[in-house]
Each structure stands twice: as structure tokens, then as C-alpha cells.
Amino acid sequence: MADILQILILGLALGGVIALMGSGLSLVFGVMRIVNLAHPSLIIGGAYVTYWAFKMTGVDPIVMLPVASLIMAAIGVLLYRLMFERETKSAKYSEMTVLLTFALAMMVEGLLGGLFTNTQRVVSPDYATDAFFIGDLFIPKGQLYAGIVSLVIITALSLFLKYSRLGYAIRATTQNREAAELLGVNVNFICILAFAIGIGLAGAAGSLVSFVFSFFPAKHWEWIAMLMSVVVLGGMGSILGTVVAALLLSVIAAFVGTWIGATWSTLTFFLALFLILLVRPQGLFGEKPEMA
């Protein structure tokens, strides 16, 4: 019983971080229909910002999180204006964004590789290697803090989307872009804002990832499949779905990793992606696609 509880706790803590990693991806797809394959590479960008801040000044990664988030959000605004804004009227916009963001991911990887080399990095605040012990239970402080901070950020995001005026505008644009525009929403501004928030979330996730996982510029290829599994299972564009899917898959992966073998745990995400596309392509909280 204690074993099961132990695996559950580790899975949930990690799931929280994966939920944050996926929520920006989901938001950006929901509002703008951009399939952002570069999202994990931007998470790694946030991780490098945090890593260098820690290395140079010793600033705690969690304290650095808002700064990394703001820096990445600003980069997000720049990227949106340069790469996506002019294409929004294109009939093949979503398809085009797949190619654009694929190219962006490679560029970011190349840039980070050139600047920081492909050496594996990890930020090591004291708590990253420490743990709480409750009876037989072992709870790594790093994962726990990262999971809690992730869930706090996602809750704040959900409250912002649910109750604020801009949140209303973002949700409205997600559900019916034309209607939002007709009711006075400046849709272009909302797209820039949502993209900035999405990439800002990538920056925030990067700060947390920096002490939970080791990272290097090409690591994003491992993460994109995992994050796409989470976002597709949750229902593309649904933040709640992303959180539920991330927690669910992380817990399953933790059980698989413990009972079957660590090398099999990653397979959980891919198997889930495969099955969900076969059985319920709209995901847990997504809408059924209309048939042509």
C-alpha cells in the first residue's frame, strides 16, 4: 500500500510540472490554432535563462520564475509578430504553423547549442536533492515544490481566464473568433496576448524543469511527443483537459516505470496518444470535430 502511495505522489508531482509544460501549448492552440512544435524548445530557453541566473547570481529558480516567464513572453510577442501575424488569414493557417514552428524549434535548438553547447545542465538548489520523509514515504522536495508551483500557476491562469475581462475575451476568441470580433474584441491583440501568455508559461515551466530534469538544447524532441500526448488526450485547447491528462498519464507512467521498468514509462505517453486518436480523437474535454 505504501508503495502505491509513494508512486502516486511522485507521479502527481511530476504530472503538475508536465501540466504546466503542456498548458501553454494548449492555450496557444486553443486561441490561435497554432500547433506549436517549438513549445518545448522555448521551455528549454526558459530553463537556460534560469540556469545562467542561478550560475551567475545564485538566484533560486522559483524566485527566477517570473523573470524567465516575462523574458520568454516578450520573445513570444516578437515571434508572433514576425512569424504568425501576417499568416492569420491563410486558409491553411494551422497546417502552415506546423512547418513554421518545426523550423523555429530547429532554429532555437541551433541557437541554444551554439551559445551553450550540448552539455547536459541542471540547476541544483539545495532542495533539488533533498526530500521529506513521512513514515515510509519519500517525497523529493524539488518535484514537490515544482508540482505545487505549477498547480498554483495553472489555477491562477484558470481564474484569469474565467473571471477577468481579458480572460473572457481569450475564451471567446477560442470558441468563436468571428463572434468575438463582432462583439468588439480586438482579436489580433488577444492573439498576441495569448501567445505571450503561452510562451510565458513555457518560460515558467523552464524554470521548474531546470531543477527537476537535466536538459540540453536537443532535449525538446523528447518532450514534444510527451506534451502532444497530454494535450491531445486532454482535448486540444482545453487547459483543464491538459491538467487532468498530465496528472493521469504521469501517474500511469510512474506505475509502469516502477512495476515494469523505467524504459517503458515513456511508452505510456505514446500508447495513450495512439489509443486516444483511435478511440476518442477529440480527447477527454475536446469537442467532436465536425465531419466534412
Binding site: K89, R165, Y168, A169, R171, A172, Q175, N176, E178, A179, A180, E181, L182, L183, G184, V185, N186
Partner: protein, 242 residues
């Protein structure tokens, strides 16, 4: 005649494509119901989209209360007092009725005033109060159309443009929609309507506009349009107005 909105020989189309409207004109008088009729592809919906700023006007003018609207964005035109409900009703399916109404008043800065106006709408449309916390996407077609029309009233618009509000609705519900339009008109809101059911549209309107191949063929009092033998033959299937 004191016109509220004057559309003069406009040319407009989608993107870089061919012009759908080419020489369309329209005069809208305050407080009346205006019905635009015409065959499929005549440019009826395109005309509304051009007026509300969703399409770029290539030639001609749209003048509202003496102000030229050409080149303005939809949100700017809405702030001038022109609301547009497209064919698909433009609701937010995963938002509740109340949230949809809140979005109707997105351009209002005074939150308390917005909530007061929402209460006013819920008072006038009891079906919406009953379903205030229900997601709009789960309501019937008639209820959704009622919500779409009621939502326009939140900002107290000067003109409400409705693109085929009767589309997909049962005849009894269609009459309810026309009753709402008449109520709007009685309250001083000018209604501009595109209607596929030309006979019903004109019977419930004060002014008729006939559009074909992107240009205005004829406009005048609805009764005159209804009585015109050419119009009856071409657009009313030869039916005589009762």
C-alpha cells in the same frame, strides 16, 4: 427622409477574390425594419459584412450618422452602434447564457451598468433567465437565436443587422423571432434583416431592398416591393402577398 445609414455604390469581396458586391446601395431609416432579399449569391450577407467592417470596401461609401465607416474595424463600428448577428448566430457554445450576455457588453467599461443591463435582458426574455447558467451550445436553435438577438441589445445599439435569423428554425419559432424584431423596432432600434424567406421577411418589414448579382435592383416600402409583379415572379415564386 432622414437616413441613419447610407450605403452608396459599394464594391467589396473576400480577400483578393472577385467583387461580390458591385454597385450595391442601401438607405436605412431610423427605427424601421428593413429586409434585404435576393437569390443565393446575390451578396446579401456580403453587404452586411461590408457594413460591419468584416470586409474591406474597395469602392463606394458607408456613412452612418454622417460619419464614414470605410476602413474601420468591426470593434470600432460596433462602438458606433452597429451590431451584426451572422447566420451561425455567433454564440460562444461553452459559455453560459449569462457569460454570452456579458460578452455582448464587452465594449462597456462600467461593470455595474453591464450587470444591470444583463438583468434587464433576463427580465425581458424569461427563457434566458431560466437558462442563465446553461451553456449556450446546449440550447435549442430557437433559444440560441433568441440569445443572439437579445445579446445585441446590451449595448443599446442604433442598428441591429441580422443575417437569416430564421435559418433552421421551426415556423412557430420563426414568428417569435420576427416578434422580437418588431419589439426591437418599437423600442427605437433599427433592424436590417437578410431573409431567405422573402415573403415572410417583407411582410414583417417596413422597407424592402432587392439585391441581385451584387447590385441593388430596387428598394422601397416593403408593401410596394411585395406588390411588384417582377419581384413576385423572381423572388417570391410568383406568390401574391396576402
Amino acid at each position: 427622409m432622414t437616413e441613419l445609414l447610407q450605403v452608396t455604390n459599394i464594391t467589396a469581396g473576400y480577400g483578393d477574390g472577385p467583387a461580390i458586391l458591385d454597385g450595391a446601395h442601401l438607405t436605412v431609416e431610423p427605427g424601421k425594419v428593413h429586409c434585404i432579399i435576393g437569390p443565393n449569391g446575390a451578396g446579401k450577407s456580403t453587404l452586411m459584412k461590408a457594413i460591419c467592417g468584416m470586409l474591406t470596401i474597395r469602392k463606394g461609401d458607408v456613412v452612418f450618422k454622417g460619419k464614414r465607416l470605410n476602413g474601420m474595424r468591426p470593434d470600432q463600428i460596433l462602438r458606433e452602434g452597429i451590431c451584426f448577428v451572422p447566420q451561425e448566430r455567433a454564440l460562444f457554445p461553452k459559455m453560459t447564457v449569462r457569460e454570452n450576455l456579458r460578452m455582448g457588453g464587452f465594449i462597456l467599461d462600467d461593470k455595474k451598468e453591464l450587470e444591470r443591463r444583463i438583468e434587464g435582458i433576463l427580465e425581458r426574455f424569461p427563457i434566458l433567465r431560466e437558462r442563465a447558467d446553461q451553456h449556450a451550445g446546449t440550447m435549442s436553435g430557437g433559444q440560441q437565436q433568441t440569445l443572439a438577438m437579445a445579446r445585441t441589445l446590451i449595448i443599446k445599439p442604433a442598428i441591429v443587422m441580422l443575417d437569416e435569423p430564421s435559418l433552421g428554425l421551426a415556423p412557430k419559432i420563426v414568428q417569435e423571432m420576427f416578434d422580437i424584431m418588431k419589439m426591437m423596432s418599437a423600442e427605437g432600434v433599427t433592424v436590417l434583416l437578410v431573409e431567405q424567406n422573402a415573403l415572410m421577411g417583407l411582410k414583417n418589414s417596413d422597407w424592402g431592398v432587392v439585391l441581385d448579382l451584387g447590385r441593388t435592383l430596387f428598394e422601397g416600402p416593403a408593401a410596394t416591393v411585395l406588390a411588384d409583379p417582377r419581384i413576385q415572379e423572381l423572388y417570391l415564386g410568383g406568390k401574391k402577398a396576402a
